[in-house]
Amino acid sequence: MSMAEEPIKVGIISCAGEEIPEGTISRLAVRRVLEHLRPGQTVSICLPLFLAGNEGERDFARNFPTIIIDGCDKRCAQWGTEKHSGPVNAAFVVTEMLKGAPPLSGARSGRDLTEADLAAVELVAEQLAAALDQAAGTYTGSQPAAAGTSSACGCAVGLPSGTIQVNGKTIEIAGLPLIFQQCQEDGLAAGSPDTPARLLAVVRVYHAVDDSEEQAYAAALVEAYRTSLASDR
């Protein structure tokens, strides 16, 4: 499929609030959209990662038209996304979406969900899918190439990735161009004594690095960063 034929990908961020049954409904509804209702058209990101992330994660809603689903009126997902990444295309709250529907059982665990809970998931998911179609239909921006499939892993899906060579292996790191861009904007020089540790620390937030490979990763990151800086000149 050519780039011109790529469907517009829409981001969905869910609160997944652990304390409340509606958090479970929001999480499952997003999974339903990702896997069944709009596979290949939807990307997601873990809300805690988004909220605590750096510019790379927070570019999420700038790169994708974004829909928010919160479990309750505290609206943590909407608050965090709009604060860090700008306006969203649509924002929903499960408690409001389910007004008039049969009451939830109160279950939070997947072990205990009832038919009414699963019907609520479906109802919420279908509204999200409709909002997704609307958001995609009105989007006019350009999008980065999505890294991986939307249903395989929500963490950092859709962020542009970069590669480094570590001990003869090619390693793909999600968000690497954005990490380098942020470091460059912060004035970090490739030759600075702090650079290896700083690059490694940022990359480690999103990518597992075995302790035994720390030095190799740091060296590879500095080399890739140096190349990135040179190419921008």
């Binding site: 869910s14 997944a16 409340i20 873990c46 990662l49 965090g80």
Partner: protein, 139 residues
């Protein structure tokens, strides 16, 4: 002895939406706070804490916390730490797989048999730690 809500150990999962490990962290939490140690443990919305909710921040600072993370990004651990939380234990779902080579845990939407088995093991481990923290039975 039943603990008051203000002294319950907080079990805080990442609930990562993209991986089965996030679902396992979430389900292990419910197994502990609803099934194994309902009188001495409770959970907290991680997003609410990250948002900076005053009550949530005060809770993690004054009560022992056990974080459960699905992936190496350790969102729960890092966010509780950033909030100044009192982390008594950090649990990583991936570590529980070491004794289950080749296990098929299911998906980020639904756990399969292996996933529930490993999740219950994680929950047992956390429940034991909750009891320790409450001055009860030790493992």
């Amino acid at each position: 002895m039943a603990e008051s809500a203000s002294s319950k150990v907080l079990v805080i999962p990442c609930s990562g939406i993209g991986k089965v490990h996030g679902l396992m962290a979430r389900e292990a939490t419910y197994r502990v706070v609803e099934g194994l140690e309902p009188e001495t443990s409770d959970t907290l919305c991680l997003a609410l804490l990250v948002k900076g909710d005053e009550e949530a921040v005060a809770a993690v600072r004054t009560r022992p916390c056990i974080t459960i993370d699905g992936c190496p990004k350790l969102c729960s651990y890092k966010n509780v730490q950033l909030a100044g939380g009192n982390i008594a234990e950090s649990v990583r779902v991936v570590d529980a797989f070491k004794g289950h080579k080749g296990a098929q845990p299911g998906t980020a939407t639904e756990l399969a048999g292996d996933g529930w088995t490993i999740t219950d093991e994680i929950a047992q481990q956390i429940a034991a730690r909750v009891r320790e923290l409450c001055g009860g039975e030790e493992q």
